[in-house]
């Protein structure tokens, strides 16, 4: 059988990939392609402690090399369907493209969160709710990071790293485990005095804004867009009223 990646050399490495609750998938590669993809091929038998060391390979396949890209059911795993960002682009820049990317790449982001944050579940204030004074909230068991997520699945290379990554959690856990009863004082500042410099800057800025709107106004009149012209005229009057 030929290698599934280069389709030239004979395949001599079998990669098994399994995600929880799904049927295992098998890929056949040649040793050259396998090495290029950061898959280390042991020359002697090693015991790997992680239950499912090949889970991470899914990411390498789908994002870097596009295997599985043709399968529409798996497309969301490597490209956000809202903004089109690929997981590979994210890995390069460190920035996601839109809020939907969190859903699109969730399973790939979780291990990153488990290693760099305090977990993968938001415990802070909920959208639109009030400030909480009780910091006791804990993650439920099913929201806690698994060992695979916490240790050594290095997404930056697509390879795997069986050495446990240095955990900062144990040291900070002590601090965070204590209850805080912080009394929050009313948000009134000691001397809320207006800044004269800021006021001067505001005036100067308003002057430039008026100039710009005037230019837009002339353009609108030239284009006979009188609706826009009237709107701009009102805006200019309003700005002038504020003082320049």
């Amino acid at each position: 059988m030929k290698c599934q990646r280069c389709k030239e050399r004979d395949a001599n490495v079998q990669i098994m990939q399994q995600e929880a609750g799904k049927k295992p998938q098998t890929f056949m590669l040649c040793d050259v392609c396998a090495r290029e993809m950061g898959i280390s091929i042991p020359t002697f038998p090693v015991s790997v402690k992680i239950n499912n060391p090949f889970a991470v390979m899914g990411n390498a396949f789908q994002t870097t090399f596009g295997i599985g890209a043709d399968d529409p059911a798996r497309r969301h795993l490597y490209r956000c369907d809202q903004c089109g960002l690929t997981f590979d682009e994210f890995r390069k820049s460190g920035f996601l493209g839109c809020p939907n990317c969190y859903e699109a790449f969730g399973s790939q982001l979780d291990p990153v969160f488990c290693r760099t944050q305090m977990g993968k579940k938001h415990l802070g204030r909920n959208l639109g709710s009030k400030i909480k004074s009780s910091p006791k909230k804990r993650a439920d068991d099913n929201e806690k990071c698994s060992l695979e997520e916490r240790f050594g699945l290095d997404l930056s290379t697509g390879g795997m790293n069986v050495e446990p990554v240095n955990q900062t959690e144990s040291s900070s856990q002590e601090i965070f485990s204590q209850t805080a009863q912080e009394s929050v004082t009313p948000g009134i500042f000691s001397n809320p005095v207006d800044s004269e410099e800021l006021e001067a800057l505001e005036k100067q800025h308003r002057g430039v804004l008026i100039q710009e709107k005037k230019a837009e106004l002339s353009e609108a009149i030239e284009n006979e867009d009188y609706l826009l012209a009237a709107k701009l005229r009102d805006e200019i009057t309003e700005l002038k009223k504020m003082g320049v």
Binding site: K132, P135, E199, L209
Partner: protein
């Protein structure tokens, strides 16, 4: 007078406290993947929401569009920590709303659609957090904010997701720096989930022994716990710095006095000064004030000096474009003038026992 010209709690070490909350609007890409048209659209929505905040009847916020602001003004705003270096790069659809007392600035279309930051003099984290959160809650009610139950507030960079909260303090650590303790401290704090940076934040070197410390973790933790752990860490740093200052002084009082008064002399009489030199001398003066050497100069004056000696501020003060050498002359002038104008002639009573 603005907040940064006054002195607050634990002023001898903590110059200012700040809390920043990142929020993004649902249904839009993050700013780095938006067209200018979309940025303008988001900007106008955010400004509309801020303008209609309660308590804004008298026009509490001044709105400045980055594309309409000259570079010198943008840089001066960076030197006052009101905007970031990133926002100061300018561009259409990028703006800032600054409260008239300069304690609140809301950055629009920087890394995230909205970044609310509240600052105050001294060690006052709860106060600034509460104010920032009030504004965030009000904005969350008036526009669709990107949020998921799993990951909390969704931000452009996953290092901010969850609470979207970054608490930070600006600290003056001359003793820790002089005794070569900063490197191990920075490494230790980084292990415990905190970041230490130079004076103007990211990518800048520490000038004048001033460092910015902040929390790294935003997900899997409550806001109260972020504040609590961060506050405890800063308290430890304050105690350590005070202890070392005392040790430093006790071991060789003449040497410290000499250093401080030499710096004071240079600040009073120099005719040319680079910004780095000025920051160093101001740090020595600041140390002297905290050790109670001065009656005529106070922390407020030092805070004022520090806020107005940056290159952009010096340019702005003179109202014309200056060469580097001219800036150095102008900076020395500003420092001399401020030291004379702000000198206190009666016994100020406080700070003299330290």
């Amino acid at each position: 007078m603005s907040w940064y010209l006054s002195r607050g709690k634990d002023w001898d070490v903590v110059l200012s406290s700040r809390v920043r909350l990142a929020r993004d609007i649902d249904g839009y890409s993050f700013p780095h993947r938006m067209t200018e048209d979309k940025k303008v659209e988001v900007r106008d929505k955010v400004i509309q929401a801020i303008t209609s905040l309660s308590g804004n009847e008298r026009g509490e916020y001044v709105t400045l569009n980055m594309d309409l602001l000259p570079e010198a003004d943008r840089k001066a705003l960076v030197e006052k920590h009101l905007i970031s270096e990133d926002l100061a790069k300018g561009g259409l659809g990028r703006s800032v709303c600054i409260s008239r007392d300069e304690s609140v600035s809301i950055l629009i279309n920087e890394e995230d659609h909205i970044r609310i930051q509240v600052m105050d003099a001294g060690f006052t984290l709860e106060k600034v957090y509460k104010k920032a959160e009030e504004i965030a809650i009000a904005l969350e009610k008036s526009m669709p904010i990107a949020y998921s139950d799993q990951y909390g507030f969704l931000t452009a960079c996953p290092t901010n997701t969850g609470t979207g909260m970054r608490a930070s303090v600006m600290v003056h650590l001359p003793a820790l720096t002089m005794l070569g303790r900063m490197q191990p401290l920075i490494e230790g704090l980084s292990q415990a989930g905190f970041t230490v940076r130079g004076y103007l934040g990211e990518h800048s070197q520490a000038n004048g022994n001033i460092y910015q410390m902040s929390n790294q973790i935003t997900l899997g933790i409550t806001e109260a716990n972020i504040l609590l752990s961060f506050k405890r860490m800063v308290e430890e740093v304050i105690m350590l710095e005070r202890k070392l200052r005392k040790e430093l002084f006790d071991s060789n009082p003449d040497k410290i006095r000499d250093r401080v008064f030499r710096a004071y002399g240079e600040l009073q009489y120099a005719r040319m000064m680079t910004d780095i030199e000025a920051m160093k001398k101001i740090s020595d003066l600041r140390l002297g004030i905290s050790l109670g050497f001065f009656k005529e100069q106070t922390e407020e004056t030092v805070a004022k000096l520090a806020a107005y000696i940056g290159s952009a501020s010096v340019q702005k003060d003179s109202g014309e474009l200056l060469s580097v050498k001219q800036q150095e002359v102008k900076r020395a002038d500003i420092i001399r003038r401020m030291l004379i104008e702000n000198a206190v002639h009666e016994d100020p009573q406080e700070g003299s026992t330290r």
